[in-house]
């Protein structure tokens, strides 16, 4: 619903003439029951009636109290609009806030009692297809194979903010083709080892930061070179465990007479090699500078399969320079002879003197000392890849125990029963086994090896709907009636995909098999165990990455001219910070309110440098106390600040919307059509960005929503579009004050966070909604409202600890039960 100025203009003359619309504060506040209907009549009906029907709402057709039960969704909206003071919109007279709140409370109580009379509804989750992450993790846990075939699947469609929503995930012929191919790759890798790959060349050349040439040596600088713009950082997925040839290609120049430059190569923060590049070797284009460009160096190193952070940097950049630059450990090499003075022919004495002067000046000139950098890396490989199936894979596949291949007659049945049981996540029937055994048999009859026969059956398992989908079936019930308990095996899958984004492990399977898993004590113990397991990392990456949206960091591209310092080291470090922060809340079982304003984070040198926090040296991340800084909580982290900005500037509206969507679960309605665009060319020229956004407040139509969004964004304006602190934007001082519609004000991010902490219950409900959506794999409906409230209440009682939130969700009605779906027709 958006307010229409049409209504206001109709009644404006009335108001101006001292009309009869007055906020009647004479009705007794305590008698809310009888006050609600007159309140609506007085304050709402003038626009929302049968004739005008603003926003399609007509209170004449929905009289209290009957319509509360008949159309609760309308009254929920009324509550929201009244609470946030969006209604009645200016310039309509504002009713007495005490009265408004009383009416709101009455409506809410009535709605609750209506809801309470309905039978509890756990909702239904549609059969959920494994998404990319889940597929890769499941294959890893099922077979010990670390190939990630999911990387080549199409991106999963997202719904309600997450990519694991059953209704939204679909199967297309293209995807099935990829599943078939992945099944071939994976089963071969598990039984026979990864396919031999021909070595190929990959060039890693990310966009780097700009280097401002300088002729002076700084007093202090990062000697590892990793946080300097001269370094190169990239994330690369190595296909297999193997040897790879690293070819380092530098560029830039050094003043003549410098010693060789040392380039260090790091893998996941650990130095694996140092190579030396002598700028003096070979010709250079100038006598005063020596060129590093193209003087490549190579070495081979063994790397495990998977994604690794590859970095190359210039060590001790300012050492080995000619003595005249005054740097540490100056070059002991002789300075090359200066080029001779070539006087111009037939020169007059003045011209001669001039030329001589220029020559002397040139000799005395200093050259940039900081340009040596790593331009790109070429990776060639794999060589000497580990061949054959890994011991772990063989152990997982050959349940018969004959890892050496000396199989008996019962082995196919033993092996396939175990594989199918774990892959289908339930006990296996003869009907499941028969076709698999037949496939293996056909392969043997064709003369293929035992392993090939098993591989063929395994391929069928991996494209079976029992593997690809999590289908929850139950006894047939009539449509829409009846509530069923989730069975033990289905519960095990729900838990493991919730907390690990992967299949259940043996312990979970055992507790499903003996039927104890649904018991609350056993369930609680399993949840606690699972949260401690390393696989719970999936919660950080998949849930956190989507809720707080730091997954989007992969694809942001801040404008290079405005933000010349942004490069991959910063990008990866921002993401790592948010991951480690969320992980600390989960692992240390901290209060979720720390996400709002916890006064600590995890920084490395590059990020600390970016934030202006001194005393953090080195590439590795460590916990840093943020006391005394204007940062704390996710809102002041580079990841959130960057993904909620445009490539060229900040957007208070985007940031405000981010807070409303993700932290307060109060998303603003969509903008109306034909919204006039912000005049980008005058931003920061005639008026500041903030001043230009005053248009939001002065225009009645816009104000209704923007009074909620803009202040939240203004409070963060001290952080630029890549999260660095600033006190000025172009030539305008930053004004980080904000005023919320309910009257609370704040100045700057810390005060904003304090205000949000006052709304801790709204935040807790928001966090609950998000995690519950993720856990269930469906959007939340009205009937989940009571569940969310109950969980949020208990989380508050449990000191807001994260484990309480997870536990409550795992024990909640929609997680343990399911609504009957009408069964087969």
């Amino acid at each position: 619903m958006r307010p229409s100025p049409r209504c206001a203009t109709l009644f404006l003359p009335l108001l101006l003439a001292g009309g009869t619309l007055d906020a009647d504060s004479s009705a007794p506040a305590g008698d809310a029951d009888s006050a609600a209907a007159p309140f609506i009549a007085r304050n709402c009906r003038m626009c929302h009636n049968a004739v005008l029907k603003n926003a399609g709402l007509d209170f004449d057709a929905h009289p209290l109290p009957a319509s509360l039960a008949a159309s609760p969704e309308i009254w929920e909206k009324v509550v929201e609009k009244l609470q946030t003071r969006q209604m009645p919109p200016p310039p309509m007279p504002r009713p007495d806030p005490v009265q408004t709140d009383a009416v709101v409370r009455w409506i809410q109580t009535e709605l609750e009692s209506v809801e309470a009379t309905r039978p509890p509804d756990p909702g239904r989750v549609t059969a959920r297809r494994l998404n990319r992450t889940e597929y890769d993790n499941t294959v890893r846990d099922l077979l010990g194979v670390t190939l990630r075939p999911g990387d080549s699947f199409p991106h999963d469609d997202a719904g309600y903010g997450f990519d694991n929503i059953g209704d939204v995930l679909s199967v297309s012929p293209v995807l099935l083709e990829k599943y078939l191919k992945a099944a071939e790759q994976v089963s071969r890798a598990a039984l026979l080892g990864p396919d031999p790959q021909k070595p190929s060349l990959t060039r890693l050349q990310p966009m780097g930061a700009k280097i401002e040439p300088s002729t002076t040596v700084p007093a202090e600088y990062d000697e590892t070179g990793l946080s300097l713009p001269n370094a190169l950082h990239v994330l690369h997925r190595f296909p297999v465990d193997a040897e790879y040839l690293f070819r380092i290609v530098p560029s830039g120049s050094r003043p003549s007479g410098s010693e060789p430059v040392k380039v260090a190569v790091f893998l996941d923060g650990e130095q694996i090699q140092v190579v030396e590049v002598d700028p003096g070797e070979g010709p250079s284009s100038s006598s005063f500078q020596q060129d590093l460009t193209g003087k490549t160096r190579e070495f081979r190193a063994r790397v495990t399969a998977g994604e690794h952070w590859v970095a190359a940097s210039v060590l001790r950049l300012y050492e080995g320079l000619p003595a005249l630059y005054g740097g540490p450990n100056p070059s002991r090499l002789p300075m090359p002879a200066p080029p001779p003075f070539r006087p111009p022919e037939n020169a007059t004495p003045e011209k001669l003197a001039e030329a001589r002067q220029r020559y002397e000046a040139r000799l005395a000139q200093k050259w940039p000392v900081n340009e040596a950098k790593v331009r790109h890396i070429e990776l060639i490989g794999p060589y000497e890849a580990a061949a054959g199936a890994s011991p772990e894979s063989l152990r997982k596949v050959y349940a018969c125990g004959h890892l050496d291949g000396a199989h008996g007659r019962e082995c196919p049945r033993l092996i396939l029963t175990d594989l199918a049981r774990r892959a289908y996540r339930r006990p296996v029937t003869e009907a499941d086994l028969r076709p698999l055994l037949r496939l293996a048999e056909t392969s043997r009859k064709r003369g293929e090896s035992f392993a090939q026969g098993i591989a063929l059956a395994l391929r069928a398992i991996l494209v079976s709907p029992d593997f690809l989908f999590r289908i929850e079936t139950g006894p047939a019930v009539a449509a829409g009636e009846g509530v069923q308990k989730i069975g033990p095996y289905e519960l095990a899958s729900r838990l493991s995909y919730f907390l690990w984004a992967s299949m259940p492990d043996e312990e979970l399977f055992r507790s499903a098999e003996d039927g104890t898993l649904p018991d609350p004590t056993v369930l609680a113990a399993q949840v606690r165990r699972m949260l401690k397991d390393p696989r719970a990392r999936a919660l950080v990456e998949a849930f956190g990455g989507q809720w707080l949206q730091f997954r989007a960091l992969e694809s942001v591209s801040p404008d290079r001219d405005r933000f010349p310092t942004f490069e991959n080291n910063l990008r990866f470090s921002m993401r790592r910070e948010s991951e480690l922060f969320l992980e600390s809340v989960i692992r240390e079982d901290r209060s979720i309110l720390d996400l709002l304003d916890g006064k600590y984070s995890f920084l490395n040198e590059r990020l600390a440098q970016h934030y202006g926090i001194p005393g953090v040296k080195g590439q590795e991340f460590r916990r840093v106390d943020l006391a005394g800084t204007p940062r704390g909580g996710v809102l002041t982290q580079g990841s959130v600040l960057t993904v909620s900005s445009y490539s060229t500037r900040t957007s208070p509206v985007l940031r405000g919307k981010w807070v409303l969507d993700n932290l307060l679960a109060a998303p603003p309605p969509d903008p109306p059509a034909g919204v006039p665009r912000l005049d980008e060319s005058t931003v920061g020229v005639g008026r500041s960005l903030r001043q230009q956004m005053e248009a939001h407040r002065s225009n009645v139509t816009c104000a209704a929503c923007h009074v909620r969004m803009d202040p939240l964004g203004f409070g963060l304006e001290n952080f630029d579009a890549i999260g660095a602190w600033r006190t000025e934007d172009a030539k305008f001082p930053i004004d980080a004050t904000g005023a919320l519609p309910d009257g609370r004000t704040f100045n700057g991010p810390m005060e904003l966070e304090a205000v949000l902490r006052q709304d801790r219950d709204a935040f807790t409900r928001a966090a609950t909604e998000k995690l519950l959506t993720y856990a269930l794999g469906r959007g939340l409906e009205r009937h989940d409202r009571a569940t969310v409230k109950a969980i949020a209440r208990r989380v508050a009682e449990g000191d807001y600890r994260f484990s309480v939130l997870v536990m409550e969700i795992a024990q909640s009605l929609p997680f343990r039960m399911r609504k009957g779906d009408g069964g087969p027709s």
Binding site: L180, P465, P671, E680
Partner: protein, 451 residues
């Protein structure tokens, strides 16, 4: 994204030798496929391609002032001037169903969803999306038995989104223009390497014996899972059945493609190098995707293709042409001359790359003419003015002669707002596919084959 180049060293040497000999033997190898085409034996089949550009066009710099065959090429259309004789510029076409019709904001989602379907999509961000069947898929279904792949969907913008898509519309609407069924979008492949592998397979040994064994094994596996899914269906509720139905359709479709490939035993040697991934610059990326279409048509692996130059609402920036700002916000220019200029530059850039596609089609021999002679390539958008989100007087080009069915070389300006779907109905007719209607179509369009 991190630019990654790759060179498969061994494959390059293999192709360098094979490349020179591709022309003649290659054509001979194509004969069996042509024999199955509609029309005279050996006559080259007609190909259909759709290229979609998002966020509208600066129309004053697009629409030529004159009609007929002697029109002046405007700034945006200029890159296509060398192909005047093969081009039709069509003005006055519209997509009424992309208008809000009471649904409020969401023009970008509606535009993309409507472009090839002519249907007003259901406004929802959840799972109950509903659109219509797109023109390309109608053809793909009809011609399915004639080529290895029924169709090809390509795109140059990763379809992953974190967050909302457009004013209450699901991302499925903005990310695809191709729809197999009312509830099933066909999301585009955005990775050139994977698109290549879909066309040519990804095993280095494409020898017939290995391919046959693979096909046989896959068929056995699909038999097993098809049986299982039939059995499962019987025990599921309605919404689960819908999911499994998608799965069953996919199984049947793959089985059909396997059978199709067995009927077409050609060992198709890819005439281009396998791309390593997504190229560094947008221009190279788009060129790569166009090239994949050309080779797919050339080898008759498919006769229907769609390409989304960007998703609707695209935020792509084009720093290489001096436009570092995201595309979509720029198109809400409010007539600011500097922003209008930037958008025009983007439009021109897209057309330059399209001209590259047209020139490759023209340079590729096909039967008794060129690929361009036998193709019908529609280039356009379902948004005309990106600033105001208008869906009439749309920018539409038709390149190619459709096997002689189209009289190119003119600017045709229709006087009323004719549904764009009428054009599609007419084009499909040329391919021998005759649905009653497509979306909101009211009949065939005039002036395509005559003056």
């Amino acid at each position: 994204m991190t630019p990654i180049f790759g060179r498969h060293l061994a494959r390059r040497t293999f192709l360098r030798g094979a490349g020179a000999t591709l022309a003649l033997p290659f054509l001979d190898a194509m004969r069996p496929a042509f024999a199955a085409a509609k029309g005279a034996a050996g006559r080259a089949p007609v190909r259909l391609s759709f290229v979609y550009v998002p966020n509208g066009i600066i129309m004053p710099d697009w629409k030529p002032a004159e009609e007929g065959s002697a029109y002046t090429f405007t700034r945006i259309l200029k890159p296509l001037e060398p192909f005047r004789e093969d081009l039709l510029v069509l003005s006055g076409l519209a997509h009424n169903n992309a208008n809000d019709l009471g649904d409020g904001p969401g023009d970008h989602a509606r535009a993309a969803a409507c472009f090839l379907t002519g249907v007003h999509p259901k406004k929802t961000a959840g799972a109950d999306i509903r659109n219509g069947v797109s023109a390309d898929q109608i053809v793909a279904e009809a011609l399915a038995s004639q080529t290895r792949l029924p169709s090809m969907e390509l795109g140059c913008e990763e379809s992953r989104t974190v967050g909302n898509c457009d004013s209450g519309y699901s991302c499925a609407y903005t990310n695809s223009i191709s729809w197999r069924a009312a509830t099933t979008p066909m999301p585009p492949e955005t990775n050139p390497r994977l698109a290549f592998e879909r066309l040519f397979g990804d095993t280095d040994n494409a020898d017939p014996a290995t391919r046959a064994r693979r096909a046989r094994e896959r068929t056995s596996i699909l038999d097993v899972v098809a049986d299982r899914s039939r059995e499962l269906m019987g025990r599921l509720g309605a919404s689960d059945r819908r999911k499994l139905d998608e799965y069953q359709y996919a199984v049947r479709e793959i089985e059909r493609q396997i059978q199709q490939a067995e009927k077409d035993p050609r060992q198709v040697v890819p005439p281009i190098e396998k791309p390593a991934g997504i190229p560094e610059t947008f221009a190279e990326y788009l060129r790569r995707m166009y090239e994949l279409q050309v080779v797919a048509f050339q080898a008759d692996l498919t006769r229907v293709a769609t390409l989304m130059v960007g998703r609707e609402g695209s935020l792509q920036s084009y720093p290489e042409i001096g436009v570092p700002d995201p595309h979509h916000p720029l198109t809400h220019h409010q007539n600011n001359p500097e922003w209008v200029e930037k958008v025009t530059r983007i439009n021109v850039h897209h057309l330059e790359l399209f001209a590259h596609f047209v020139s490759r089609l023209k340079a590729t021999k096909d039967g008794d003419g060129t690929l361009l002679d036998h193709s019908m390539v529609v280039y356009g958008s379902a948004i005309a003015d990106g600033n105001k989100h208008t869906h009439e007087a749309l920018p539409v080009l038709l390149a190619g002669r459709g096997g002689g069915a189209i009289k190119s070389g003119r600017h045709v300006a229709y006087t009323k707002q004719i549904p764009l779907t009428n054009l599609y109905l007419t084009l499909l007719d040329r391919m021998g596919v005759r649905p009653e209607t497509i979306g909101d179509s009211t009949g065939r369009i005039e002036h395509l084959a005559d003056i």
